[in-house]
Every structure is written in C-alpha cells, then in structure tokens.
C-alpha cells in the first residue's frame, strides 16, 4: 500500500523520528529508536535503488500538487545510490555510536545527540531526493544545523571553535547557493529542477545565469570542502565525536558532491557548464591540487583523525577529477568513488574512534604496538587503509581503476599518472600508522587497560571492512548502479524532461 510513497519516506521517517526521539527520556531507548528508524530508511533506500535500476525515475508530487507548482521528489538511480550509502552508513554509525558516545558525550546529552543525528539524516536524504532547487536549500540547512550541533557536542573546547568556523563557512556557502537559485528563478520563473533545465536550455548564454551557476558552484564547493575552500573541514572532523566524524566523512561532503553533479548535469547541462563556461579546466586543476596538497599535509599530521580528515579532502579531489573529465566514464568513476569512499572512510574513522575509546587519544603515539593489543581494530584499519591506497581486491582499487581508465580513454596520460602518484602519498600516510602499530613496542608494555574494542563497535566496523573487500571483488552491483547513474545524468537535460 505504501510502495508509491517510498520516495518520500527516507526523509519523512527520520524527520518524524527526531521529535519522537527527543521525547524519549532514556538514552538506551533513544538509541534503539534512532537505529530502527535509520535501518528502516536504509531498507527503503535499497528498495528504491532496485526499483530505479529496473524502472528508471520515480516522481512524487508532495501535497498532490503537480510540479512545477508543488514540490516534487525525484528519485533516480544516481540519488538512490547515494541515498543507500547515506542511510546505510547512518545505521552502522548509530550501532557503533552507543558505546562510543557513552565515553565522549555528557550523559544527559545523549538523546540530543540521537535527535540531531536523525535531523541530519533527514536533511541529507532531503537534499538527495528533492527535485526542487529551493527545497534543496531548506534541507541543506537542516542537515547543516544538525551537523554544527553534532560537532559541538564533543567535550574538547576546540570542537566549539571548529563548529563555529564550520557554521560561518557553511552559512556563507548556503547563502551563495541562495543567491544562485535566486538568479536562476529570476530568469526562468520556476524552481523545479527539470523545469529549470528546460527553460535554461532556451538561453544560449546569459550573464545572469552564468553568475548564478558560478555562485552555486562556489557555495557547493564550500560545502564539499573543495580545495582551497576546505579549511573548515579538518578541525571539524578532528574534534567532533568519533561517531560523528565517521558519519560526516562518509556522507555530508559526498552529498554535496552529488548536489554539484545535479546542478551541473541535470539543470545546466554538461554542454553549457563545461564547453561554454570552461568550468572543467578549473575543477580539474583544483582537484589535482587538492589531491597533492592535502595528501602531503596528511603525511605530516601527528593526530590520526586530522590525517584522515585531510585524506578526505584529497579523496574529494578524486571525485571532482572524475566529474571534470566530462565523460560518462569519468562521471561514473566519480560516483563510484562516492560509494567506495564512504565504505573506507567510515571504517577508518570507526577504527580510530575505537582506539580513542580505549586509549583516550587520537595521537599517533597512542598507536605504538596496538597491532597486538587491538588486533581486530587494527586489522580493520589496515584493510580500509589499503582500500584508500587502492590495493587490488579492495573497493578503493575499483574506483581508482575506473578513474585511470576514464583518463586514459581521453588520452590524458598526465592525469592518469598523477592519480597513481597521488596513491603513493596515501601509502605514506597510512603506512606511518601501520608501522608504529605493528613494528613498534608500546610505550608502556605493562598497561593492561588497553584491550580490544567492544563488540558493538567492532561489528559495524567489520561490516564496512567486509563490504570493502566484497565490493573490491564483486563489482557488479556498485559498478552497474554507478554506470546506470552516470548514463542517466549524461543524457541532455531536454531528454530528461521528456520522461515526465
């Protein structure tokens, strides 16, 4: 009976769940409830992904008002794929969070944590599913406000300044997007994405529309932490509670990448953005600089969380690189990397959080000799780390492979070479941690308090690790979904309009 309402449920469920969660006074109860809600959303997202692979696009008119007068939810393969990643990671992180936040967050703030997490999830799902440019802004702000709260929940005082900086940058970004949407509305009179696409296609080149696009791209670049607008991200991820870092690193910036894809491919059309405005060159250069600069910075960090945060910015570079190749193969590699990166960064941040849970520190000194004391956690870190590097049989290899192939397809030898060199830097920063964990003796060998992480933290961590291996070997599901998504996005915007 509810099948036709599935496109809206991943948003509505957590949105209703959040206030209910607030009313549940007990921490345990709130945790159970939030996990169930998130798990149910994940189930629906999977159903949506399978349905869209089968049938194409699902459109849902809210309030029964047909678009463009009402707001439309529009789920296609591309956003169903990202939606599954977001809801899936959210569920795993919630399972993991129970013990992690017990230690990191003040007891009477636990329900607030779960409420904020659900709001963040609702916001992210809304950004992904919506077919309305202004509605996107509203959900962006829900997720952002919830994120600022989540980051500031950590007990470290540096989390406060990190959250404030994030808030200022995030609001500037959102306001830029608002300006851009306003300019688009001014020239077209509509906010529905498909309607926008059809009406923008009528203009050849227009200074107002160009400026609008530029503002949207800059605003989104702030949100996705594209170099050089990434400075808010490392402190935020470093000082946030571990569960929050694991969730945000895998989802928040990836959703922003998706928003960029949506605006470039669905609304303006790749032709307009890349050939008329020459955005591909700018994005390509920024992506490569991001990969090298941030990987270098990552190699010298003493805090492992900061190191992973910089690594995230570098990985975002790979995604943008894929997009800026302006081919279906490149876009497909970028989308695939969104999926795979969520798997590996989620696992890595969870492992770091488990170490923080036992040792109370995220400094690299805490990792001395951990290979023997927390073997399962460090094994998870190792496998996910290999995936970041791009070793064969891991998910990371698959996306790098497709990225290199996409570059070679265009005879961009240099770019392919740079991608491979970037991976070498990943070997350096991941290797540093592995070296001290396995080949150094612990600073205090008599300390017996440091033992393996609790089961409830290990299970979600290892699910992600196994997924890393699984999607490194059997690529049929992830690759076919990403491939369908990129083909779908690469149709000229006018054709998409015809689907309705």
């Amino acid at each position: 009976m509810f099948a036709q309402h599935f496109p809206v449920l991943p948003i509505v469920l957590p949105l209703i769940g959040a206030p209910v969660c607030m009313l549940l006074a007990r921490s345990q109860l709130a945790w159970l409830f939030a996990t169930l809600i998130s798990g149910f959303s994940f189930f629906i997202s999977i159903v949506l992904l399978l349905t869209t692979l089968d049938q194409g696009v699902l459109s849902y008119a809210l309030g029964g008002w047909e678009p463009p007068w009402g707001i439309e939810m529009r789920v296609d393969v591309a956003n169903a794929l990202v939606l599954s990643v977001v809801t899936g990671l959210s569920t795993l992180v919630l399972v993991y969070a129970k013990q992690s936040i017990d230690k990191e967050i003040d007891r009477n703030q636990h329900t607030l944590f779960y409420t904020a997490h659900l709001l963040c999830l609702a916001g992210l799902s809304g950004i992904l599913s919506t077919g309305d440019a202004f509605n996107l802004f509203v959900f962006l702000e829900i997720s952002s406000l919830a994120t600022y709260t989540l980051v500031s929940l950590a007990s470290d005082r540096r989390a406060l300044t990190a959250a404030f900086r994030y808030l200022v940058m995030g609001t500037i970004g959102a306001t830029f997007i608002l300006i851009g949407v306003g300019m688009m509305y001014m020239k077209t009179g509509t906010l529905n994405m498909l309607d926008l696409a059809a009406r923008i296609a009528e203009y050849d080149s227009n200074r107002t529309l160009n400026t609008g696009l530029a503002f949207i791209l800059i605003g989104v670049s702030i949100k996705l932490a594209l170099f050089p607008l990434h400075m808010w991200l490392p402190p935020a991820y470093t000082h946030a509670p571990s569960a929050v870092s694991a969730f945000l690193a895998g989802t928040a910036t990836k959703v922003a990448v998706y928003v960029m894809v949506r605006f470039i491919f669905t609304i303006y059309g790749a032709e307009y953005v890349f050939h008329e405005m020459g955005m591909d060159v700018i994005l390509l250069v920024l992506a490569i600089v991001a990969i090298f600069n941030c990987s270098f910075v990552a190699t010298v960090q003493s805090n492992v969380k900061t190191m992973l945060a910089y690594s995230s910015v570098a990985q975002i570079g790979y995604m943008i690189l894929g997009i800026s190749l302006v081919t279906s193969a490149g876009l497909m590699a970028g989308l695939l990397h969104i999926f795979n990166h969520a798997l590996m960064k989620g696992a890595l941040f969870m492992a770091v959080g488990a170490v923080l849970f036992r040792t109370g520190s995220a400094d690299i000194k805490a990792y001395y000799g951990l290979g023997k004391r927390m073997p399962l956690t460090m094994a998870a870190f190792t496998i996910a780390g290999l995936s970041i590097i791009g070793v064969p049989l891991t998910a990371g290899f698959v996306s790098k492979w497709y990225l290199v192939t996409a570059a070679l397809e265009q005879q961009h030898w240099l770019i392919a070479f740079l991608i491979l060199t970037g991976s070498l830097l990943a070997i350096v920063y991941i290797g540093r941690v592995l070296e001290v964990a396995y080949f150094k003796e612990p600073a205090d060998p008599t300390d017996t308090t440091i033992k393996e992480a609790p089961v409830l933290m290990l299970i979600p961590m290892w699910i992600l690790v196994l997924a890393n291996i699984y999607f490194g070997i059997d690529t049929s599901l992830s690759v076919s979904a990403a491939d369908a998504a990129s083909k779908w996005l690469f149709q000229p915007a006018a054709d998409l309009g015809a689907v309705r």
């Binding site: 607030l112 509305y185 160009n210």
Partner: protein, 325 residues
C-alpha cells in the same frame, strides 16, 4: 512614488551597513543591526511583501537582536583593535561584488510585469489558489499548501536550532524565586507589563488564526507569544518565568509541534492521497485544504513558540549563572 521610497530606504540601509563596518562598539553594532532589519522590513512592505515584513520585524529585528544583546551581556561590548590588514577580504569582496554586478546586466528589469518570474509559475498561485485552496492570502496558500514541504523543513530547522542551543547552553533548572532577579525597583514597568502581556498573547492568537485572511500565521504568532513570555522573564525574573512555562514542557511542545505538522501529512497518506495532501482530509477538497492549513499552522506556532522560548531560556540561564558567580 513607490520607487522613490524604495530608493530612500535603500540609501538608509547602505549608510547603516557602512556604519556597522567601522564601528568598534558592539552594542552600537547590534542596535544598528536592529535598525537595518527594521529598514528592510519597511522595504518589504514597500515591495508588497507584507508577510515577509511582519516576519522580518518580529524575527530579524526582534528575536535576533535580543539574542545578540544577550550574547553581548556575556561576552563584553568592545571589539578589540584589529591588527592584521583587511586587504585580502577586501579583494574577495570586490571580486564577488564585480561578479554580481556582471550578473545583474542580463537581469529582467525591476518591477516589470512581463518578467519570467511573474509569467511562469506564479500566475497559477494568483489566479487559481483562491478557488483551489480557498484562502484570500496567497502567501499562506503557497506556504502551507503548494510548498508545504518547504515549510515542514523550515519547522524542522527551528527545531534543530532549539536542539543546538539546548545542547550548547542547557536549560535553566526550575527553581524557587529566591534569587534576586528581574527588575524589582521598576514599579511602572511591572504594572504596565502585567497589563500588556495578556494583550500580546491575545494578539498572538489573532495573528495565528487570522493568517489565512491577512498577513500572519504560525511563525509570527509563535514569535509574538514567545516575546510575551520573554518580556515577563525580563521584568519579573527568569525563575518566576520558568515556573509559568516550565523548561521541560518546552521540550515536549517543541517536539509536538513538528509531530502535529508531520502527522497532518501522514494523515494524507492514510486517506489515499500523497504526503501533505489536504484535499483528501474532508469530502470537499477546499474544506480539506482549510482543515489541513489550520492544523499545520497550529503546529508551526507551537514549535516556533517553544523553540524561541527555550533558546531564550538557554541564553538567560547563562546570564543568570554569570551574575551569581
């Protein structure tokens, strides 16, 4: 004539903004921001956006300014002299501004009825909504029915803000009014406040339920009702106010408002429509729209009232704490 007033007001805004840049006294900066906000409310009236003006005056000029003043009370009112040069920010701003000016060059002329924005989606709202939704105030129709999902999101944003402030500042404990607080010596103020607070609450109810016909609605009503309690807390002290409206109750109310809104949407599902479809709520679509809009506006009002008040409580409890120490 309208254009001339617009120009004068915009000029005043520009002067205010420039003054804010160079002032070092933060108290004056915040007051000027209040003025800025009121001036923009006037511009909104002049540009026919009465609902927006109402909200800007109540939310932007009212609540935002009160919160900023509350923050200043805790952080000090002087900005320290800034040693580093402001060359880079200036450059960024000039480049951004130049881009925007470049963008204006192809904009449709200001106020032209032939503009795309006035030709495509909006005409349906103007021509059909009085029949389809049955309300004279088109802004309410669009807000609460055509784009009800945006408004649900907006309610969630207010709720999220309340969660954020709650987690950062906490709520005051409900305490006996033993601590000296409030303005005990201001007899005139106390008498007038007692007289006015009920009036403000009645006005809030009027705004809440008159929003279908004139400017107003849940947001403005919630803010006005919260303002009445804030006035009470300022004059009679926070401990007394927490006895009138308990912090715990606020948590429940803030959640309930969102739930009322969302439940209206879910009701649409059960009656066979889409999420937030009010047509199916009654046998007659227009009557259904009316029921739906009244209920969701009520939900908005409750959430906004509770959220704004708990945000104020959060700041006030910090101030109280600072006073005791």
């Amino acid at each position: 004539m309208a254009e001339l007033i617009d120009l004068v007001l915009l000029g005043m805004l520009a002067i205010t903004a420039l003054r804010i840049i160079f002032l070092k006294d933060l108290f004056a900066v915040v007051m000027l921001f209040g003025i800025y906000s009121f001036l923009s409310a006037l511009i909104f009236v002049n540009l026919d956006a009465v609902d927006v003006a109402f909200t800007e005056a109540a939310v932007g000029a009212g609540i935002a300014t009160v919160l900023m003043l509350g923050t200043l009370a805790l952080t000090g009112r002087k900005e320290k002299a800034n040693s580093h040069t402001a060359l880079l920010p200036l450059l960024v701003v000039i480049v951004t501004g130049a881009a925007l000016i470049y963008g204006t060059l192809d904009m449709p002329p200001f106020g032209d009825p032939e503009n795309p924005a006035n030709q495509h989606v909006a005409p349906r709202y103007i021509e059909e909504s009085p029949q389809e939704v049955g309300l004279p105030n088109m802004v309410t129709s669009v807000l609460a029915s055509y784009r009800a999902f945006d408004t649900l999101g907006e309610t969630a944003v207010v709720f999220a803000a309340a969660i954020g402030v709650l987690s950062l500042l906490g709520l005051p404990k409900q305490s006996q009014a033993t601590i000296e607080s409030g303005l005990k010596s201001h007899l005139v103020l106390r008498v007038v406040a007692k007289l006015i607070i009920p009036l403000i609450l009645v006005f809030a109810l009027y705004v809440q339920f008159h929003g279908d016909y004139g400017p107003g609605g849940g947001f403005q009503a919630g803010v006005i009702a919260a303002a009445a309690i804030i006035l009470y807390a300022l004059v009679f002290g926070l401990p007394l106010a927490t006895q009138v409206i308990q912090p715990k109750l606020l948590k429940i109310l803030a959640s309930m408002g969102v739930l009322i809104y969302a439940a209206t949407g879910v009701a649409g599902l059960f009656f066979g429509g889409n999420f937030l479809d009010y047509n199916v709520l009654a046998s007659d679509p227009v009557a259904g729209q009316h029921i739906g809009i009244i209920v969701i506006e009520f939900g908005i009002g409750v959430t906004v009232f509770a959220a704004i008040l708990s945000i104020f409580y959060g700041f006030a409890s910090q101030a109280e704490r600072a006073n005791i120490q």
